[in-house]
Subunit: 344 residues, 2 copies
């Protein structure tokens, strides 16, 4: 089959790879119907050291079950399913706590002998724990929004949940990428009152406004901080959702959060240290968030998507075929596209 | 009157200072009956640059109201009162949220024209907001435990509350100082099941056991981490209360907290950066805590102290007169004394 491999910074290729096969009785084979490129894929795309061999990549997909292992009874051939961005047993203590990313038996797509999501098919380990059935056909108009359940929407939602967003909360969202606007949508769904979106790409912040942002701050750094303070009587907001992953975004978060408030980060950290010394201690700031256990949120978010109450799939502004994936990476890296959907 | 001043590292003196006077109609004058030395006083005692003039010091005291300003109606001469370690109006939005340390009109003891607590008397600004009346006489045997309400006990309690300690929580407490054992007592009060106290001073960890620690780990660094992992099936505990303030303690906290868990810090940070990069992100760790808004907890904790259910005053293992304060600092810095009470 054809699948995407990354060989180094700027070097993504679509190549022939072995067809996946059932290896464990708990496996399922899924033919990929939709996949996409993640903002986090752009970190290796920007900086991965070059290697002789490529590594499989992609961790967001939905598709159709083609075959199941002998221990899989909840899924059958023909089921349309979405995969969260790590695979997990959904039964261990961490999964029961909603922390599927720390599952005792789970792992990452594209690692070792597990396929990446940006290909024609995927062997899904622990299929019953990992996959969530979708009550739609593989030609449904809802596929883009359903695909977001695999990562980007639950990631924004995780930020809002961990940040403690609820009715009446004031929120700042830092970053107008697909995760940022998903965080806006999530904060709105959880009842946030004021949602300030910090981002400077007009088309993206416009989508953010559609998703529920009440204010947009295009300025960055000290100027952006001053603007948020101006909007909030000098105090900042109770919650800040950090959806970038770079240190300046964290510094901005610290500067715009209210005393006693919470910074919830879901941008994959491209930093090792966070300035949380005495001033932040005296202000009683909380730093929370982390990689999103998407699996924990899918059942909760699915009904709103099926009923059309929310359209998180609007983050996809370009659809490509599998052979065009290298250009899809380029387009996202160049900020030509917000988020690229792949139709293998 | 006589009061304590700090002139530099290792240089604490008791000197004559002007008698306090009512300056604002919201002031009260309090004759200090008991004060004490805080672990946080040891930071300037260890490192403050030498100056020509001394600065007033001390922020924990209880005493008797001697005089009140014209706007003070809730307090009268003769009332026995305890002062939390910052003064605050107790009415602004931050105070109503329980964050008196960020009070819009409050401030620190010993700063500008406000007295420090380690002296014979204190002018208390915003007296009605700041002081809490105690239904005891000034000769009560409960004074040591009541004095802890001004800082050390609420500080441990703040750690536990912000850490989300509740019935059944597993907790590690790092540090066997007065705050550490107060955190143990607090975690126990909130229903924690397992409380692992990390500390290497036997007399202090024994007090920690009396306060509710179920396990004591005397080892430090990697060895201590291994011990906590051994006690917890390799996972660490859901909550870690960091009661030291040094970077190695924070690093230990990160190493012994369970994935998805919370590090709640109340040790005044002697560091500027916290290692909260990608590994901690992937583990979904939360860093919370901060300077304790003691005022927010006094009413909640007072009944247990009055009823003798808890004896947080056991942290005091030495009582001195005001003129002996310099030696009290030395004794605490040398770890001869856990916490020194002052009887002016």
């Amino acid at each position: 089959m054809r699948a995407t491999l990354i060989y180094g910074a700027g070097d993504v290729r679509v190549e022939d790879v072995p067809d996946p096969k059932i290896l464990e009785p708990t496996d399922a084979l899924v033919r990929v119907v939709r996949s996409c490129v993640c903002g986090s894929d752009l970190w290796p795309y920007g900086a991965r050291p070059t290697t002789e061999h490529g590594d499989r990549i992609g961790h967001e997909f939905l598709g159709v079950v083609e075959e199941t292992g002998s221990d899989v009874s909840d899924l059958k051939r023909g089921d349309v399913v979405v995969a969260p961005f790590v695979w997990s047993d959904n039964t261990c203590d961490f999964c029961r706590e909603g922390l599927h990313t720390s599952c005792r038996h789970g792992g990452m797509w594209g690692a070792e002998d597990v396929d990446g999501g940006q290909g024609e098919a995927v062997r899904v380990p622990l299929a019953e724990g990992t996959l969530v059935k979708l009550p739609v056909g593989e030609d449904s108009d809802l596929l883009p929004s359903l695909l977001t359940l695999s990562d980007v929407f639950p990631t924004g939602y995780h930020a809002a949940v961990k940040g403690g967003v609820g009715p009446g909360t004031d929120v700042t969202v830092i970053g107008d990428g697909a995760v940022g606007v998903s965080a806006v949508l999530s904060a709105r769904r959880l009842g946030a009152e004021r949602i300030v979106l910090m981002g400077r790409h007009r088309d993206r912040t416009d989508l953010g406004r559609d998703f529920g942002a009440t204010d947009v701050v295009a300025e960055r750094g000290a100027e952006g901080v001053a603007k948020v303070h101006e909007l909030t009587g000098g105090d900042g907001t109770h919650v800040v959702l950090e959806c970038v992953g770079l240190l300046p975004a964290v510094e901005t978060a610290i500067a715009v959060v209210r005393d006693g408030g919470t910074i919830s980060r879901v941008g994959a950290p491209q930093y090792e240290q966070v300035p949380m010394g005495f001033p932040e201690f005296f202000r009683n700031l909380t730093l929370t968030g982390g990689v999103a256990p998407a699996r924990a949120y899918i059942e909760e978010l699915l009904p709103d998507v099926l009923e059309g109450k929310i359209e998180p799939g609007r983050v996809f502004d370009r659809t490509i075929g599998l052979e065009e994936v290298p250009d899809g990476y380029r387009a996202m890296a160049d900020r030509e596209a917000l988020k690229v959907m792949i139709r293998p």
